[in-house]
């Protein structure tokens, strides 16, 4: 586990200012040569290729928009009456006593590498707010809590390397907003305006960029010691990394899945986003979120799921297996969930409606205990049977897994220290 930078504190801008101050403390009286040395020292935290050091763990959040049916995926109830259990059968997994849906055969074979929490409670909102920030949309309308990815972005700060710390492969939404952490911690969205900046701007060749760098080095001769806030020195280190991003193209390459073996591409056919996510994580991105499918199955639930579950099964098993093959299973934590579960009783349109009293969350890696079904819902899948876990508690567990203390605070606009999560009990079975 890497050490969380600094301790909890209450001043405006909290963490990054503190980091700057540390630079600033040395910064008084720095010559340019000194400041370059400071940069070099800070670069030591990065590997040779500009990636953040491996001790920083990462997270992948897979969002199933619409609210997937818990009873037709990870919480099947073969004993329940037919109007509850639905059309799908349960199959055994390679973990004894744990059954999942018949359309998840690949995950069943590797369930020792996965865990599912079957007793998560949620709210009835069509928004990714709760599962991404830990606070429902109605709370965030006023208090603007940050996305999990924005928190990682804030904490990684200047150690993020030549890669964006937070990438969203599903654009922007309430759940990807940085809230009170500030716009600097918005996600990088391929296809969004920042993406084009990764390749050389139009009309600029790499020769020309070299010329320009030479001019910049000469023209940018302002005394760094006049700025004790550390912003100037910070900019210097970003300049170097930004140029590296454009020339070495770590992120660009990561986003270019054609660089993969054709066999791999075949494995990920139709579910390429999962491959992109894996490549981004390998490139050093701290947080990737993606979405798959549409799960708001008020009607024809089973027909829809029959189409969507097999590719999702392949996606999860490929992704998790790939992370294991690369030895990243403990360095990356993955979670998959939607807004809520769906009504245990099938409706007259062979559909299931919104059901927030209980849902499932699939969790993998991050050094958490795998091969378990944590918690349970009642016999007909209606509500948590024994131990209910809230979404913030699951998030706190995930924060803990990647070495972030969810009781760390950042100040909001009115200076109030805000905990990353207020409800911080963890899922005991996983840690």
């Amino acid at each position: 586990m890497f050490q969380v930078l600094g301790s909890t504190q209450r001043f405006c801008d909290g963490l990054s200012r503190r980091n700057f101050l540390q630079v600033g403390a040395f910064g008084a009286g720095l010559t340019l040569a000194d400041s370059l040395r400071v940069q070099a020292a800070s670069k030591a935290k990065l590997a040779k290729d500009g990636r953040p050091s491996k001790s920083m763990k990462s997270a992948i959040f897979i969002y199933l928009p619409g609210g997937p049916s818990h009873m037709d995926m990870y919480d099947v109830k073969p004993e329940a009456p037919v109007e509850f259990r639905g059309e799908f059968k349960a199959i055994d997994t390679n973990v004894s006593g744990v059954q999942i849906c018949e359309h998840f055969p690949l995950q069943a074979k590797m369930f020792d590498k996965l865990s599912v929490i079957r007793s998560v409670t949620s709210v009835d909102e069509h928004s990714d707010s709760l599962v991404m920030t830990g606070y429902p949309d109605r709370v965030n309308k006023i208090s603007d809590h940050p996305s999990f990815g924005s928190v990682i972005s804030k904490i990684r700060g200047s150690d993020a390397g030549a890669v964006p710390p937070f990438v969203s492969l599903r654009g922007m939404s309430r759940g990807t907003e940085p809230g009170y952490l500030g716009v600097a911690h918005r996600p990088f969205t391929p296809g969004g305006p920042g993406n084009a900046n990764l390749k050389l701007a139009q009309g600029v060749t790499s020769d020309r960029l070299d010329d320009r760098k030479q001019l910049l080095t000469s023209f940018d001769d302002i005394r760094r010691d006049i700025d004790t806030s550390g912003t100037m020195v910070g900019m210097d280190s970003y300049t170097e990394r930004a140029i590296e991003m454009v020339t070495a193209g770590v992120v660009r390459n990561a986003l270019d899945i054609k660089k993969e073996d054709p066999k791999t591409l075949e494995r990920y056919k139709g579910i390429e986003q999962f491959l992109t996510a894996r490549r981004l994580i390998e490139a050093g991105v701290g947080f990737v979120t993606l979405s798959y499918g549409g799960w708001d199955t008020h009607g024809q639930n089973f027909a829809s799921l029959k189409k969507q579950l097999p590719p999702l099964d392949r996606a999860i098993s490929n992704l998790i297996q790939d992370l294991h093959d690369r030895g990243l299973q403990d360095d990356v934590v993955t979670v998959m969930w939607g807004e809520f579960g769906r009504t245990p009783k099938v409706n007259m349109n062979a559909g299931r409606d919104h059901w927030s009293p209980v849902m499932s969350a699939m969790v993998a890696g991050g050094g958490l205990k795998m091969g378990q079904a944590v918690g349970a819902s009642t016999a007909k899948g209606e509500r948590p049977k024994d131990r209910a876990y809230s979404v913030p508690q699951v998030l706190s567990t995930l924060y803990g897994a990647i070495g972030v203390d969810p009781s760390q605070t950042f100040p909001n606009g009115s200076g109030r220290p805000m905990y990353i999560q207020d409800d911080r009990d963890v899922v005991k079975e996983l840690v």
Partner: protein, 824 residues
């Protein structure tokens, strides 16, 4: 960990300290307190010994002095100056340092019996000191693992019930106190999620144990309460790498005074200058500056202010006075033993004042004209001229629009409202409407938004809570939000203070005037504000109607025909109001100097004191005398010699960050960089959703609200106006920002556009040296060095056939240089 670190520091720096001590000559020794009345065996007060040097400066000698006691059976004193009673009686302590002595008369009583314990006065502070009831642990709203305490112990009765009665009473076992879960957990004897908080041998443990053994008394109804807390000394000049022992006294309602140095909580606001230990020992570090230490005990706060001067002889300097600012800054520098930088050059000053007042770069023509002007008073003339420019009103309207949250949340129907509110703000600034009236017009806004633009403020301020939070933060420099749900942890403000202000909002009425075809979403309808004759706000603490009450004032009643908000504004704009003028003076000072005299600028707590109180006082006075003219305030600030200093440090002020002995460079804000890039490249922009004609706003500082999509502005930190805090604007560096400036089609497009500056310069018949020099003056307000000129020339030669490419490269490099991106 903490003691280890400070021990290591002491060891490291012991040598220089004692070397300096060699010259130490004491002429007097003072003890505080000079008389002590000890009550009970647990009462172990702290002494603080002060030597007066031959120079008149005081020095803390608490740990250096030797202590002898006239009757060692009565009491003893440890090496750190703490007094421990042993038996009833009277004895004198003699503290000796060199040839000097100080006497402390001590009377001890009550050691023969166990003193009664009061839960609120004694037990609750222990829970606070050990941070059991902090927001991170049991103090959070849902408690921790089933055990909840009130945040920072502000509700002792509730905590008492929780401890005694919850969990079937197993937390406390009077028959066998050590077996109480409370002590077992706290001392880490059994596993505790929060770790070991105290040692079994500690005073805290003994006190808690004794309380449990005594049957867990709550105390008597007539027991005194803490009325105030004081700290000795309140201010002190402390050398670098030195210590200062504090003594904290609780004053009870019955007039008794108790030493609570070990029980109070401390926090330093500048941990680079001074840190503070659990026992009230201030440790200064190797940085010159000032630090305030907040002291908190039982809901009361006090502040120690330490000034840490530069060691060695203070530099001598003359500092001509240009405005009322200068004597106060100079006094502070002398106190700190530092000296101001040189005056900024004319080039630097011109660029600086243009950017700070108008958010705009001076044009090449303006630069040469100004430099050629021989007038002695040209700086003042320039300032007067800039304050009458339209850019000034746009730039400051943008600043106010941020904190007044002029936003339409992407709803096109709201644009007419936000545009007219912005226009109203800009007009108020351009005509220099007195600030007191500006605020009254907003807070007391009334009528239809199409006729009364300031009512648009109430589109974002819709609840009593938002009213209190925004009014207090924007106009009073007080962050009251904490006091909505609990006593403010760093201030004296209570929930009743909070709801007292909220009550003024109680009769604000809103009507919406529906527009045909517009579906109501609660915010997008035309709105009219009126005053109701009845109505109120519920105080969340008492669940009763809150009385209208200004901060530190008496409750008021308002007749049914009057608007309570008027009374509230009367209280705010009264020249005697201690918050209002200071808040805006500090906000404007921070605008020009990059750091408020109180920092953060809208957090003017008693425990976050100004770095130069006299200066802030003077600015506020000056503002009131000038009938709240903001232009006059700006003139007072900007015409001062202090503002016009160079940013280059000298040997004495290089580590100065809070006393303005030089100008602190600031990164230009998003809109200013955007406009400057457009200006330097000669590639103006238009914005989506605005007219395209010649009168349309072409510049980012003119944008009326937040809903103009621009990746450039977002990535450089333009705020979304989600809060009333200027801190929402990000002026730090980020990778995405640098990447956008270095390598985006947007910036490259502006540089290389046909007809832009690069192309014009390529065709310009003047010499390349002349043109490059002009570019340097425009972007960085300085001439290029010979090396820079020759490098530019080399690049131009390389692209002899297509000089435009070379000029593009040169402009690119200048736009990405810190000399351009910073105001310095």
């Amino acid at each position: 960990m903490r003691p280890l670190i400070s021990a290591a520091l002491l060891g490291l720096f012991a040598l220089p300290t004692f070397a300096a001590d060699a010259k130490l000559t004491i002429v007097k020794l003072d003890a505080f307190p000079s008389r002590i009345a000890i009550n009970g065996i647990d009462d172990a007060p702290q002494l603080s010994l002060t030597g007066i040097r031959d120079t008149g400066k005081p020095i803390d000698l608490t740990a250096e002095a030797k202590y002898t006691v006239s009757d060692p059976k009565i009491l003893r004193v440890d090496a750190n100056g703490r007094v421990f009673p042993l038996a009833n009686g009277a004895a004198d302590i003699t503290a000796t340092h060199g040839a000097f002595t100080a006497k402390i008369a001590v009377a001890v009583k009550g050691t023969e019996v166990a003193q009664p314990i009061n839960f609120a006065n004694q037990i609750s502070p222990v829970l606070t000191k050990l941070s059991c009831n902090s927001g991170g642990c049991h103090g959070k709203i849902s408690g921790q693992n089933g055990f909840r305490l009130s945040l920072l112990g502000f509700e002792p009765e509730l905590d008492y019930t929780t401890l005694l009665k919850e969990s079937r009473g197993r937390r406390l076992m009077p028959a066998s106190p050590d077996q109480s879960l409370f002590l077992l957990k706290g001392a880490g004897v059994v596993p505790h999620g929060g770790g070991k908080k105290m040692d079994v041998a500690s005073e805290e443990y003994k006190l808690l144990r004794r309380w449990i053994a005594a049957g867990m008394p709550y105390g008597q109804e007539k027991d005194p309460k803490v009325a105030k807390v004081t700290v000795f000394p309140e201010t002190r000049v402390v050398d670098r790498q030195s210590r200062q022992q504090l003594v904290v006294l609780a004053h009870y309602t019955d007039g008794t005074i108790e030493d609570v140095t070990r029980r109070a909580q401390y926090e330093s606001n500048e941990t680079e200058v001074a840190t503070i230990g659990e026992a009230g020992l201030v440790q200064t570090l190797s940085m010159t500056g000032q630090a305030a230490v907040m002291v908190r005990f039982s809901g009361n706060v006090a502040t120690f202010r330490g000034v840490v001067p530069r060691p060695g002889d203070a530099p001598k300097f003359e500092f001509p006075v240009q405005t009322v600012v200068d004597p106060h800054t100079a006094t502070k520098w002398r106190e700190l033993g530092i000296s101001p930088s040189e005056l900024a050059t004319e080039e630097q000053f011109l660029r600086r004042v243009y950017l700070d007042i108008t958010g705009t770069l001076p044009s090449v023509g303006v630069v040469s004209q100004y430099l050629a002007d021989p007038s002695k008073s040209k700086r003042d003339t320039l300032i007067d001229k800039l304050l009458e420019s339209p850019e000034y009103s746009f730039y400051f309207a943008n600043k106010w629009a941020d904190v007044l949250r002029v936003k339409r949340r992407g709803q096109a129907e709201r644009a007419s409202g936000t545009f007219s509110f912005h226009d109203w703000i800009r007009d108020s600034i351009a005509t220099d409407k007195p600030y007191s009236e500006f605020v009254r017009d907003i807070v007391c806004a009334i009528g239809d938004e199409t006729k009364s633009p300031a009512t648009v403020w109430y589109k974002e301020v819709t609840t009593p809570e938002q009213f209190v939070d925004d009014v207090s933060q924007v106009f009073l420099g007080q962050r009251l939000a904490c006091a909505q749900c609990h006593h403010h942890p760093y201030e004296k403000w209570t929930q009743d203070d909070y709801w007292g202000i909220a009550a003024y909002f109680g009769r604000v009425g809103k009507k919406t005037i529906p527009t045909a075809g517009r579906q109501n979403n609660g915010q997008n309808q035309r709105q009219s504000i009126y005053t109701k004759s009845t109505g109120g706000v519920t105080n969340k603490r008492t669940n009763k109607a809150a009385d209208m009450k200004p901060l530190d004032g008496e409750a008021v009643t308002v007749g049914g025909d009057d608007d309570p908000r008027n009374l509230f504004v009367d209280w705010m704009v009264d020249p005697k109001n201690p918050f209002f003028a200071k808040a805006v003076a500090n906000r404007y000072w921070a605008h020009f100097f990059g750091r408020g005299i109180v920092d953060p600028l809208d957090d003017m707590r008693a425990t976050n004191p100004p770095s130069n109180p006299e200066l802030l006082e003077e600015l506020a006075k000056n503002l009131v005398e000038n009938k709240y003219s903001l232009k006059a305030l700006i003139k007072t600030i900007v015409k001062s010699r202090t503002y016009q200093l160079s940013s280059a440090p000298n040997e004495f002020n290089k580590s100065d960050k809070q006393s303005y002995a030089r100008y602190y460079p600031k990164r230009l804000q998003a809109e200013v960089v955007f406009d400057a890039v457009c200006n330097v490249t000669e590639s103006p922009s238009d914005f989506p959703g605005l007219p395209k004609d010649k009168n349309a706003p072409k510049r980012a500082i003119e944008l009326p609200d937040e809903s103009f999509a621009s990746y450039f502005l977002d990535v450089l930190g333009r705020p979304q106006r989600i809060s009333a805090c200027e801190c929402e604007r990000v002026n730090e560096a980020s990778l995405a920002m640098i990447l956008h400036l270095l390598n985006s089609d947007e910036v490259q497009g502006k540089i290389s556009r046909a007809g832009a500056r690069a192309e014009k310069l390529a065709k310009d018949p003047r010499s390349d040296d002349e043109k490059v020099t002009e570019l340097f003056l425009l972007t960085q307000a300085k001439k290029p060095t010979p090396e820079q000129l020759s490098l530019a020339r080399e690049n131009i030669v390389k692209h002899e056939k297509n000089k435009k490419l070379a000029y593009e490269n040169i402009i690119w490099a200048l736009v990405n240089s810190k000399g351009f991106l910073f105001n310095q």
